[in-house]
Symmetry: D2
Subunit: 308 residues, 4 copies
C-alpha cells in the first residue's frame, strides 16, 4: 500500500460509479473502467467523490466498490476515497474501512453550512483528529458546496494539520489561489500537492501557476495526462494545442448537474462501462444532448488526427 | 400498526437521538425519553429528523434506534421516521426497514438543490413512486433546506400523489401558506394534515389558521399539547397565556445551529435523557448559555405557578 | 453636530420611511414619526437601513428624507445613515451628502457576494478609505445579507480601521459573538460600541453579554429603552418581565419579509405615521395577520397593566 | 426609434461602461466602443446590464451614458437598457428616462430573494404593470441572481404579459430550456425572441435548439456575429470551427467575478476603450492573468489565419 503524501502528482481520475440498467452496482464495469483509466494515463484514482454518486450508495456498497477497485489496481497504485459525511463517527468508520482495504488516503469536503475562516479551521481540525494519521485531501469546490476557502484559510489548516497533504483545487476562478499557495511555500509554508478539477477546463494555466496535475473526471483522461506530460517536457504550445482540441467537449461535460450524465454517456460510448445509467434521482440526456455529444466526439477525433 | 393518514392531529414530538458521553447510542435514555414525551402529551413521535441528528447515524444505528422506540411506544402509537436521502435507493431501503418495524409513515425533505416548482414536482413524484404505498409527510423547512415551496407547488404534489398525507409546516413566515392550503381544500383540493414546526413559536396563530397540531421538538412538549387542547376547547386566551409563558424559553431554543444543544441540555435537566451529548461535529453551550437557560427555566416555573 | 464614537449606547431606533398612499415620501409623517421615537426613549436614530426601504428611494429622495429627519431631531441628536451601495463612488457621494446635512455617522453592510475573512477585510478597508474620516457602523446581518462574519474577522477590521466605531450586531445566534468581542477587548483590542438588532428578541441576554444597547426598529421602542434602563439599574428581573410582555408581539414582527408590513401597521395604529404603506414590490398583510396583531397589541396592553 | 419585439435576432452586445483612470465616465471611449461593437457585427446593444457595472453608476451617470450611446448609434439601431431595481418606482423612473432618450426596450432581472414560480409571476407582472407598454427582456441568469426559472414559469409570464418580448437566456445548463420554450410555441404559446448569454460558450448548440442569436459581451463580438451568420447559412461545421478557435479565450473571460476585468483588458488591447479601468470595488488582473490573456489572444490570431 502506498500512502498519499505531498509529492503526489500526475492525474488522479475521479472515477464514476458504474451501475447496471436496474440500478445495482456494476462490478464488471468497475473492472473495465479501472482498466480504461489506467490505459489512458491515470497515475491515481479517486473514488466515491461527488461525481461518483457516493451519497447514493449504502455503506456496504461503498465498501464493496472500493474493494473491487483496489483489487483491480493492485497494491501499489494510489487510490483516494471520498469520506465526506455529516458526522465524524461515519467519517471515521468509512475511512478506517477503506484504509484497511488499502486506500492511500481520503478526501474531505466542507459541509455546506460553513462560512467563516474560523468555522473552516474548527471543522477541518476536528475532522483531522477523527481521521488520526490517515493522509487526507482538502476538497475545495465552491460551486458544489457553496463554501469558499481563501488561500489564507487553507494555509492555516495546512500549518495546523500535518496529515493534510493535498488540495483538490476546484475554485472558479482559482488561478490566483494557486499563485498564493505557492508564494506562501516560497516563504516557508509547508508544501502540499495541488491537483486541479473543473473538468480540466483550466489545466494548462493551472500547471503554469504551480499545480502538480489534475484530479478530475473528464471522460477523456488522456487529455489530462498528455497535457501534464507536455508541460513537464516544457512543450507548452503542444499542451495548449491538445487542450484546445478537447475543450469543446470538456466544456459540454462541465455543465453543472447534467455533466455526470454526459460523462457516463461518453464513457459508455468509449467502452469503459457497459451502460450510462445514473442512480435516481439524476439527470437524463435528451436526444438533442446526445446528438451534440456525438457531433463533438466526431469532431474531436478529426481534430486529433490533424494534430498528429 | 397504525398507518398515518390525513386525519392525523395533536402533537408529534420531534425526538432527539440520545447519546452517551462517549458518543454511542444511548438506548436506556431512548426509553426514558419516549416515556417523557408520552407523559407530556405526545400523540405521535417523529424520529430521525434533522433535529434527531439522523445524518450522523449509520444505517444500522438508525434501525436499532427506531426498533427501540417502536418497542417502547407499542404497536398502536404512531411513529413517523425521517428517510430523506440523496438517492432513492437508500430512501427505499430505510423506508422499507422502518415500515417493517411498525412505523406509521415516513417524512421526506427536498434536497437543497431544488428550486423551481417543476423540480419539486419531479422530485416528490419520484420519491413517492419509490416509497410505494407508504404514507409520507412532506417536510417544508426553508431555513434548513434553502428550498421554498409555494402553496400551489404543494397542492400540485398533493393532487398527484395520494400517499402524501401530511405537511410538516415549517416555513417562516408561514401563516399565509396554511390559509392558502385550507382555502384550496374548501374549493375541492384533497385534505392533508398540517402539523407545524418552528419550535412552536407560532402555534396559537397556526391553530387559528387551520393547523391540526404541532410537529416540533421543543423540550417542553406539554406547551404544545396544552395549547392544542385549549384551542380545541375554544379557550383561546388560555392557549395564548400558556404560549406566552413558554415563549422566552422557546425563543432561546429556536436559535439556528445552537438550538439542539439547548434542547438536549433542557431534556437532560428535566430527566428525559441522561446527558446532553451531541455527536461531533456539533455546537457546545457556553457557561453564559447555560446560565441563560437555567434562568429562563426558573422563570418559567414561577410563571406557570402564577397561571395556575 | 455630534460625531458617532465607540461610547455610543442606548437605543438607536431603526426608522421606517413613511410613504403616502400614492407611494410618495410622507414628510409630515416623517416629523410625527421622529417625535414618536424620541418620546419613546430613542437616544439615536438610524435611517435608510434595510428596514427603511432605502434601496427603493432615489438619491434625491434619500437626501430629502435625511434632511427632514435632521431638521426635526435638531443638531445634537445622533443620526446614523445607511450608505451601503454596490459601488464606492455612490457610497462616497451619499455619505458626503448626509454628513454635510449633519449626520453623526454612516452604516455599511457587506455585499452578499462576500464569503471569506480576506474578502471582508478587503471590502471594508476599501469602504473605510472611501469614507475618509467619517465614523461608521459595521452592519452584521447574515439572515438578510447571507454574509457571515466571525468575531475574529470583525476584530481584524476594527484593528485596521479606526473609523469603525460600532457593530450593529444582528447575527442569529449571536450571543457568543458579543462574548468573544468583549473578551478580546479585555485582552487589549480596541473597544467598539455594540448595539443589537433582531427586533430586540434577545435584548436581555445581549445586555448581559456586554451590548451597549439596541439598534432595531420594533414598533414599541419603549421596550428597548426600558430594558436598557432596567439593565443599567441592575433590575434584571424587571428587565426580563418587560421583555416577556412584549415578546409575543416582537416575535410576530420579526417574521422575515413580512415584518416591515407588521411594523408599519403597528406604527400607524399607534399614530406615529399616517398610513402603513410600503413601496412596491412589498408584502401585504392579510385580514388574518391584522387580526393577529390587533389581538397581540390588546393583550400587550393588559399585560403591561398587570406589571405596573 | 425602433421598438424591440419578439422578432429580434442577431447579436446584441452587452456593452461595458468605460471609465477613465480616475474612475469617471469615459465618454470618448463610449463612442469608440460603440463604433467597435458595430464594426464587429452587433445588430443591437444592451447597456447598463450587470456586466456594465450599472449598480455602480448614479442615476445621472446612467442617463448621461445612455444618451451618449444613443447619439452614437443613431435612431434606428436597437438599444436595450438594464433597469433592474429594488423598487418599482426607481425602475419606472429609469425606464421612462431611457425610453424618452430613444431606447428600444428595457431588461429586468429578478431580485435574488425570489424562489417559487408564484413569486416570480407576482414580481414580473408587477414590474410589467410598472413599465406600461415598454417592451422588456426577461433576464434569466441564475449564476448571478441565484434565481432559477423553469420553462413553465417563463411561459406563464410570457402568456400573461404581452410586453415581455425577449428572453435573455443565461441558465447553465440551459439547452433544455430552449427546447422546452420552442416546443411550447409549436403547441401555441406566444413566440418570444431568445438571445443567449454565458459569454457565447454554448452558442452553436443554442442556435441549433432555436435561439435567435446572442446577447453577451465577449470581447470578440465577431465570434458571435460570424457564428450566427454561419448558422443561418447552414454552415454548421464552419460555425463550430470558428467557435472552437475562440473558445479558449471565451472560457478564460467567463470566469465569474474576474471576467469583466479580462473583458475590459481585452477591449482596451483591441483599442475599443482607452483603459481597462473598473470602478471600485472590483477585481484586478495579476501579471499571470495578463500573460495568459496575451498568450491566448496571440494563439487566437494564429488559429484564425489557419481557418481562413
Amino acid at each position: 500500500m502506498s500512502r498519499l503524501d505531498e509529492r503526489a502528482s500526475g492525474v488522479f481520475v475521479i472515477a464514476v460509479t458504474p451501475f447496471t440498467d436496474d440500478g445495482s452496482l456494476d462490478l464488471t464495469s468497475t473492472d473495465s473502467m479501472v482498466d480504461f483509466y489506467l490505459e489512458k494515463g491515470a497515475t491515481g484514482l479517486t473514488v466515491l467523490g461527488m461525481m461518483g454518486e457516493a451519497p447514493k450508495l449504502t455503506t456496504d456498497e461503498s465498501a464493496q466498490f472500493v474493494k473491487r477497485v483496489m483489487a483491480r489496481v493492485g497494491p501499489q497504485f494510489p487510490v483516494v476515497v471520498g469520506v465526506s459525511a455529516p458526522g465524524f463517527a461515519s467519517m471515521k468508520e468509512l475511512s478506517s474501512r477503506v484504509m484497511d482495504l488499502g486506500a492511500s488516503g481520503v478526501m474531505v469536503a466542507p459541509p455546506s453550512t460553513l462560512r467563516t475562516d474560523d468555522q473552516l479551521f474548527h471543522y477541518f481540525t476536528g475532522a483531522a483528529e477523527t481521521l488520526g494519521d490517515t493522509p487526507w485531501v482538502l476538497q475545495d469546490f465552491p460551486l458544489a458546496t457553496t463554501v469558499q476557502m481563501s488561500a489564507s484559510a487553507i494555509l492555516r489548516i495546512v500549518e495546523a494539520v500535518p496529515s493534510c497533504v493535498m488540495l483538490k483545487h476546484e475554485d472558479w476562478p482559482g488561478l490566483a489561489k494557486i499563485d498564493a499557495l505557492r508564494a506562501a511555500e516560497k516563504k516557508g509554508a509547508r508544501r502540499i500537492s495541488i491537483l486541479t478539477g473543473n473538468g480540466g477546463m483550466f489545466l494548462p494555466e493551472e500547471m503554469h501557476r504551480g499545480a502538480d496535475g489534475a484530479m478530475t473526471g473528464f471522460a477523456y483522461p488522456e487529455m489530462m495526462s498528455q497535457i501534464v506530460a507536455a508541460h513537464h517536457a516544457s512543450e507548452f504550445e503542444r499542451a495548449q494545442d491538445l487542450f484546445d482540441a478537447y475543450l469543446p467537449l470538456a466544456r459540454y461535460e462541465q455543465q453543472p448537474g447534467l455533466g455526470l450524465a454526459v460523462r457516463k454517456y461518453t464513457l459508455a460510448k468509449r467502452g469503459a462501462i457497459a451502460t450510462p445509467m445514473l442512480r435516481r434521482p439524476g439527470p437524463t440526456l435528451s436526444a438533442g444532448d446526445i446528438a451534440d455529444i456525438d457531433r463533438l466526439t466526431a469532431r474531436l477525433a478529426r481534430r486529433l488526427k490533424e494534430l498528429d
